[in-house]
């Protein structure tokens, strides 16, 4: 089934009209903008995420649980909703931060303008960095301290050891996270639509939408997406080159001791840094959204007679589709996550053990859906599955398949990282002792990977609940998802209900994750059991 999906995508690429796709400077600028955007977002995410992952996984930084909770908040916030929060915070004229700054300094103009290229990169980054955090922290959790100890004994300090020993050991995980982030940034539609268009520049996704308006030029759109695919291939090439040069197998089956590093007073510095990032990503945006969610008319600002709980009451008890759309989002995302993880695992295992010829192509195909912008993916899915005999239009199945395909790369990248971190020697040991491959998988691989796969499931589940661009075209009257609903509300200027729905979503996700955490006895973002 998966290969048939891929053929839909790749099949479309053979009917290209490259000339039209690149005939205007405007189109090429948009492409260049996307690549720059992806690069800038990735760098920002690395700066945000890697120190925090290290601090939480390896040091005695205080308030780890609190930071993790906020990280979860950043991760489950639909980027679209966060962008609205940030427009309210850093709009050049009215943003809260700018007004505060102007009041404080008497300056005639604010200091931040969200309607800029860097503004867009920033807003995307603060809702994408959890990808890198989770990948990196998961890897750091299983790296033993032996080599760090060796470095310490040889006289290296904490900083030097971290930079020279610890981080290089988890480089494959950091790179996997960085690639996912890069691809996510260039395939995102909602946030650029909200910020780039008013800022008067285009990126690939906003440009693609133009190819799908009258006259519809789907082939041109497909041709237009090809350079992104080439970039993806190049990224994988780089990743291969780096990871091949050295060995990265860190989980060897021998019990490595993992030691918490005492940062001394530096632990408060790390805490302050983490809190600063989280304030930007979660605390500030949700404060402004709270104002809208609790307002009768949000344009009136804070005042006692403007406060109301009616928006929540309305969404929960009167609005026919709001509650249903949240339920839809969760069930589709859950189903998609099972499919994506299952497929990802199968492909990753085949690739890592080279069970089939052309495994590199298979590996590439598993990552390709991520770079195909959701809009293009949705159109391809529509063409493949909406007409008879399948006639899947308006069904949950078509959305689940689309989400599973779109997030297969996350499932694959995680499964791949999990498999790579396990020394094949352990599997070989089983086989030398006469066990078959299936037995090796069942008795050795599965138990070792169980935890990281549950984490991976949540890593697909959460972005799938936020997914907008592919849902936009594929939902039917009874399958509207929460993300589509949020967009409708923003287009209708209905910010009071939009913000309230955002909070309901946050609450519902927290309940689910808390349930899962209680069930697993640990946090999904951490691989290790709490001691």
């Amino acid at each position: 089934m998966q290969s048939s999906l891929e053929e839909v995508d790749t099949g479309a690429f053979t009917l290209m009209n490259y000339y039209t796709a690149f005939s205007r400077p405007r189109y090429i600028t948009a492409l260049w903008n996307s690549l720059r955007l992806g690069a800038m977002v990735t760098v920002l995410c690395l700066i945000f995420a890697v120190p925090m992952a290290w601090a939480i996984s390896r040091t005695n930084m205080p308030g780890k649980n609190f930071i993790r909770l906020l990280m979860l908040g950043a991760f489950i916030t639909p980027p679209y909703l966060g962008a609205i929060g940030w427009i309210l915070l850093a709009g050049p004229n009215s943003g809260w931060i700018n007004r505060f700054y102007m009041a404080l300094t008497g300056a005639p103009e604010g200091i931040f303008d969200i309607y800029t290229f860097s503004g867009l990169a920033f807003v995307i980054a603060i809702y994408s960095f959890p990808f890198i955090f989770i990948f990196t922290a998961a890897a750091l959790d299983v790296v033993s301290s032996e080599m760090e100890d060796a470095a310490n004994i040889l006289g290296a300090g904490t900083v030097r050891t971290t930079l020279k020993i610890t981080l290089p050991m988890v480089l494959p995980a950091i790179m996997a996270g960085a690639i996912v982030t890069f691809l996510e940034a260039i395939a995102l539609f909602g946030t650029p639509a909200l910020i780039a268009i008013p800022a008067r520049f285009n990126v690939v996704t906003t440009q693609l939408l133009q190819f799908f308006s009258q006259p519809i030029r789907a082939e041109v759109a497909a041709a237009y997406a090809v350079p992104l695919l080439l970039v993806t291939i190049a990224l994988f090439g780089v990743q291969k080159m780096i990871t091949r040069r050295r060995g990265f197998v860190a989980l060897t089956g021998k019990g490595g001791e993992r030691r918490i590093i005492d940062l001394g007073r530096g632990r408060w510095v790390m805490f302050a840094y983490s809190m600063a990032v989280m304030t930007l990503a979660v605390i500030l945006p949700y404060i402004v959204l709270a104002q809208a969610a609790l307002a009768k008319g949000w344009g009136r600002g804070f005042s006692w007679d403007n406060l109301t709980l009616k928006n929540f009451e309305y969404l929960l008890f009167q609005h026919e589709t709001a509650a249903q759309s949240v339920i839809n989002s969760f069930t589709y995302a859950a189903a998609a996550a099972f499919i994506a993880i299952g497929l990802g695992l199968a492909i990753a295992y085949i690739v890592s053990r080279k069970l089939l010829p052309w495994v590199d192509v298979l590996s590439f195909l598993a990552m390709a859906p991520f770079v195909v912008p959701g809009i293009v993916l949705a159109i391809a899915f529509y063409a493949a599955y909406a007409p008879p005999p399948l006639a899947l239009y308006g069904t949950a199945t078509i959305l689940i398949l689309a989400f599973a395909t779109r997030f297969l790369p996350i499932g694959y990248a995680n499964a791949d990282a999990a498999i790579r971190s396990i020394n094949p020697e352990m599997e070989e040991a089983v086989r030398i002792l006469g066990g078959g491959r299936l037995m090796a998988i069942r008795k050795v691989m599965a138990p070792l990977m169980k935890r990281s796969l549950i984490g991976a499931w949540l890593l697909v589940f959460i972005p799938a609940t936020r997914e907008l661009s592919s849902a936009m075209f594929l939902y039917g009257p009874n399958t509207r998802t929460m993300s589509v609903m949020l967009m409708d509300m923003s287009e209708e200027g209905n910010f009071e209900h939009l913000a309230a729905l955002g909070f309901l979503l946050l609450a519902a996700t927290l309940v689910i994750v808390a349930g899962a955490t209680a069930f697993l006895g640990r946090d999904f973002m951490m691989r290790r059991e709490k001691k």
Partner: protein, 343 residues
């Protein structure tokens, strides 16, 4: 060319039900029964927001028990893209199509995908919409005015702009908000009208004043509510609805004209539920539907309805109207020009 609509002619149209084509499709028992057997109707709708559309659907079901309304609500251009995909893949979903871009209708008619159908109350459509129907295929169902909106908390009445031309004043630099004709059908109509009035140079001068361009025709209302911008272009309906919730939104009828934007509806030829489609299309011109519109500050196409609370009588407004043919030709042009000048 601007067209003055007088209240007298509006009322006259309501009483003179002689415009109806002979083949008008009445709500006879046979149609209702056949529609009930089909059990539902799928409505692609861009003219009202999703909550209103759902409410309208429920009202229809209450009127005709057993017939559920499946609402697909998007902006005009997205609705059309969706419909085009349905047609291209021979996977018909839509029964009744209600758009904000009248240019969609001739495009669909050329492809022979519109059903020939005259709603029962076609004769009761207000004469204000005369010439905007495509007899036998498509009839206007709702309309609103695209006019100037202002943040009343930040702009004193005496300082507010009076005409579109005032927006070139450096005083509004970076503080004026617009939608995008590439997304919003109604913004496209307004842009065509402004180009006709002042030429494209006016937009180039406007661009120099760095306006904030969103997508939907309603985006400026959000920007004004946030205080990010203080004046802008917006639909009367959403502006009044937002003001009714207590937001600081005021409307200004520009002296150089408010643009009449009309949303047409049509029954699809390959409608999977043809009888329910016809019953629903009839209902879109009913008095019940018209009242639901007025509750949401939207002008129904049906004539003889009470005026919208908070809106000026149309007799006192300088109304600008663009013909369908001109929109078909000019909207794609201005979208392209807009993208060159703005983004």
């Amino acid at each position: 060319m601007s067209l003055q609509i007088s209240r007298r002619s509006v009322v006259a149209g309501a009483t003179a039900a002689t415009l109806a084509a002979p083949a008008a499709h009445a709500n006879d028992a046979a149609l209702v029964e056949a529609a009930r057997k089909e059990g539902s109707v799928t409505w692609y709708i861009a003219q009202v927001d999703s909550e209103t559309a759902e409410r309208m659907g429920r009202a229809f079901t209450a009127r005709y028990p057993g017939i559920k309304v499946s609402v697909i609500r998007t902006t005009g251009q997205v609705a059309f893209e969706r419909l085009s995909q349905d047609l291209k893949n021979s996977a018909p979903q839509c029964d009744v199509f209600s758009t904000t871009d009248v240019g969609h209708i001739p495009a669909l008619k050329r492809r022979n995908v519109l059903a020939e159908f005259v709603p029962a109350d076609a004769g009761l459509i207000s004469p204000a919409f005369k010439g905007l129907e495509d007899p036998g295929y498509s009839y206007p169902t709702t309309s609103t005015l695209m006019l100037m909106i202002v943040n009343t908390a930040k702009v004193k009445p005496e300082e507010a702009p009076k005409a579109w031309s005032d927006l070139l004043d450096p005083k509004w630099k970076g503080r004026a908000a617009f939608g995008h004709p590439g997304f919003s059908g109604y913004v496209g109509v307004w842009t065509v009208q402004m180009r006709k009035l002042y030429g494209w140079q006016w937009f180039e001068k406007l661009a120099a004043n760095r306006p904030r361009v969103g997508r939907s025709g309603n985006d400026p209302i959000s920007l004004l509510n946030a205080g990010e911008c203080v004046v802008g272009l917006g639909p009367l309906s959403t502006a009044l609805a937002s003001a009714a919730r207590g937001n600081p939104i005021g409307v200004i009828y520009p002296t150089d004209g408010s643009v009449v934007c009309v949303g047409p509806s049509a029954v699809m030829a390959n409608a999977p539920r043809p009888n329910a489609a016809r019953l629903f299309a009839n209902w879109l011109l009913s008095e019940e539907f018209a009242r639901l519109c007025i509750d949401q500050k939207i002008d129904p196409a049906r004539g003889g309805m009470p005026p919208i609370e908070g809106a000026k009588p149309l007799t006192d407004v300088n109304l600008l109207r663009v013909g369908t043919d001109e929109l078909v030709k000019s909207v794609p042009e201005v979208i392209e020009q807009w993208r060159e000048t703005f983004v």
